[in-house]
């Protein structure tokens, strides 16, 4: 069974997806960060591939990407770091990145290497759905990779249903039209998630963008199956030498009463 199916069969709510940037804070801290996230309660790990021009990201994640690139991070090095990671990490792991570096690596080679190393799925926010349908979707399917589309409060019902039908693993509900890491009006977010829930989509829904602490995580978990935290955690890692301790003190309050 796919790792995502196993996860969502066992856990229907308060699923916590934690974003981290590969090669941040140090070039070789990727595995350490992933282990710390799993040990401290993350249900899914979303590993960001740094890019020079990350259009959908706010300043915090941009900055972490710049640091990772300055550290020398590349997709080649990432796959070396991920060799044998499945011996230690059991939770689903997805790679999040922008299409350009993946195309330069070679889309099929990227899928083959991701799959061979035990990656479960991909998020590429600038992948147009017609390109997915025409070309890339089949390649990912051949390598048993899930692909997760994003929807926003401005996405029409018809389009949400289409993107849901093309996605597998989960559907990424962007909490409002924004870049990552900006503050949100949580009442509006709730209305939107409630609306998504009413569509009875085939995929579980994880909400992201602006989820930063227990309060915001619990708020989205009222209607979504879980939430995605990125910028707030990246900020928490800044300047920390003890990654495990920083991760523990960040996650402890968020997951305290949910289990």
């Amino acid at each position: 069974m796919k790792r995502f199916d196993k996860l969502f069969n066992a856990k229907k709510s308060h699923v916590l997806n934690m974003y981290c940037t590969a090669g941040y804070p140090q070039l070789n801290s990727t595995m350490q960060v992933m282990k710390a996230l799993q040990a401290n309660g993350a249900d899914i790990i979303e590993l960001g591939i740094p890019y020079s021009d990350p259009l959908a990201d706010g300043p915090v994640i941009q900055q972490s990407g710049s640091i990772a690139l300055a550290n020398g991070m590349t997709i080649q090095k990432l796959f070396v770091q991920l060799k044998n990671f499945r011996k230690e990490i059991n939770v689903p792991v997805i790679l999040m990145g922008y299409l350009n570096p993946v195309l330069q690596y070679g889309f099929e080679k990227f899928c083959a290497d991701a799959s061979a190393n035990g990656i479960d799925g991909l998020i590429l926010p600038d992948m147009p759905e017609h390109e997915f349908e025409k070309e890339y979707g089949t390649i990912m399917e051949n390598y048993h990779l899930d692909f997760i589309f994003l929807v926003t409060p401005e996405t029409s019902e018809e389009r949400i249903k289409k993107l849901d039908s093309l996605s597998s693993g989960f559907l990424y509900a962007v909490s409002s039209s924004s870049t990552t890491g900006s503050d949100k009006n949580m009442d509006e977010v709730s209305n939107y998630l409630q609306r998504l829930k009413s569509y009875q989509l085939k995929n579980p829904i994880l909400a992201g963008f602006g989820i930063k602490d227990k309060e915001t995580f619990d708020a989205v978990c009222r209607y979504a199956n879980g939430g995605i935290i990125g910028s707030a955690y990246i900020k928490a890692l800044e300047g920390e030498t003890d990654i495990n301790a920083a991760t523990e003190s960040f996650l402890k309050p968020i997951i305290s009463t949910n289990k």
């Binding site: 020079s52 941009q62 710049s66 195309l103 690596y105 994003l150 924004s178 870049t179």
Partner: protein
């Protein structure tokens, strides 16, 4: 005759280049444009307003000037398309007039733009003042320093100028910041992209607004020489909007040689260059697939040019297609060569060109012409904004 180069297909592709590679947060705005732009800009009401403003406000038609002394120098016939005489000093305003009318038709209240040299920023601030719309211009921090007079002009016109502080702090980063702002403020904002770049329909839309340049060249040349077509059309290319406009009505005329001139910076192989077709590979930047200067890992390279308007690591998808198909020839000029050409034009013809346009002028030195050729060079902008670079060159 089939149209092979002028317009993209329904998904915005020129050959294999173009498309709309955008995050979902931008989908409603870009989709709205895709659905409506042709209908709006082809309506009689729009065309009348657009043409009236081009005439009375921009000062079109701009002259097609026969440059006698320059022609003597190269022993041929050289015509300068005087876009430098447009209101605000460059061709950029052709596009901003078109886009602001479109934005108003779509009910938008606020305008954002990116700018490199500041010419597009000034042209955008100008049409916003003209129509009473709020205007925010994103400009690389480095460009704000080297183009200070244009920053002052934008501010005087009532625009807010926000520095882009990420990456190379130039045009690419200003474009990123403008797109991020649009993601965060989607409801009432229109993004006026200044070049034939960005997701579909921008490259086509901007090319259509700039196509007035070649439309005029055609009848002006006929009037002056009796010839249907020029032998050559030469224009500089950063993103490529003045070249798209100057080439547009000659794209399907195979007898017209189209020459695009990129900025070689300190030399194509120097590591400080913006010559995209010489150094680039297929990639995705700012929402479209095109040729792009990048590392083997797909990280976008920081370009270099003395000219802020050409300091961009990509080119528009139409130009990538013209390059790959061989329809246009791509040459380049270095920083020093552009300076040399600027001084030559100033002293032969009494016209101080923008540094961008000076790149196009330089390649006259690299080409062989016949005596009866009719060469049109798009003089895309005037050189006032580049005086500090010219003053430095005189001190050397």
């Amino acid at each position: 005759m089939s149209v092979r180069y002028q317009n993209p297909d329904a998904l915005g592709y020129y050959g294999k280049f173009g498309g709309a590679f955008i995050p979902e947060m931008l989908y409603p705005n870009v989709h709205e444009l895709q659905q409506q732009y042709l209908q709006i800009i082809q309506s009689e009401k729009f065309k009348n307003e657009f043409n009236l403003l081009l005439k009375d406000y921009v000062g079109r038609p701009t002259p097609l000037y026969y440059a006698q002394r320059l022609s003597n120098e190269f022993n041929t016939n050289i015509f300068l398309k005087r876009e430098d005489l447009c209101h605000t000093g460059a061709h950029k305003i052709n596009n901003t007039i078109g886009q602001i009318l479109l934005a108003i038709a779509l009910g938008k209240k606020k305008i954002i733009a990116e700018t490199g040299a500041g010419q597009h920023g000034v042209a955008t601030a100008t049409v916003c003042a003209l129509n009473g719309l709020d205007c925010i211009v994103f400009m690389g921090e480095k460009d704000m320093e080297r183009q200070a007079p244009n920053v002052a002009r934008m501010k005087m016109l009532g625009a807010t100028v926000l520095p882009a502080k990420s990456g190379s702090k130039t045009l690419k980063d200003a474009t990123n910041e403008a797109i991020r702002y649009w993601i965060n403020h989607p409801d009432d904002t229109h993004y006026i992209i200044g070049s034939v770049v960005g997701p579909h329909p921008y490259p086509d839309m901007v090319a259509r607004f700039q196509s007035v340049i070649s439309e005029e060249i055609r009848w002006q040349l006929k009037e002056k020489t009796g010839k249907e077509n020029p032998s050559h059309v030469i224009a500089c290319v950063g993103g490529g909007s003045n070249a798209a406009g100057a080439f547009y009505h000659f794209l399907e005329e195979s007898g017209v040689e189209l020459i695009a001139v990129e900025a070689a910076g300190q030399g194509v192989e120097s590591g400080f260059s913006a010559a995209t077709t010489a150094l680039g590979t297929t990639g995705i930047l700012h929402g479209s697939k095109s040729l792009l200067m990048q590392t083997p890992d797909g990280q976008v390279t920081e370009p270099h040019s003395i000219s802020a308007g050409l300091d961009y690591p990509g080119i528009g998808p139409m130009h990538a297609h013209l390059f790959e198909s061989g329809r246009a020839r791509f040459l380049s000029a270095t920083d020093d060569e552009a300076l040399k050409a600027a001084f030559q034009l100033a002293q032969l013809e009494g016209i101080i060109p923008a540094l961008e346009s000076a790149h196009a002028l330089y390649v006259l030195n690299n080409l062989k012409f016949k005596k009866d050729d009719s060469i049109v060079i798009c003089l895309s902008g005037r050189g006032d904004k580049d005086l500090s670079a010219y003053m430095q060159a005189m001190e050397k």
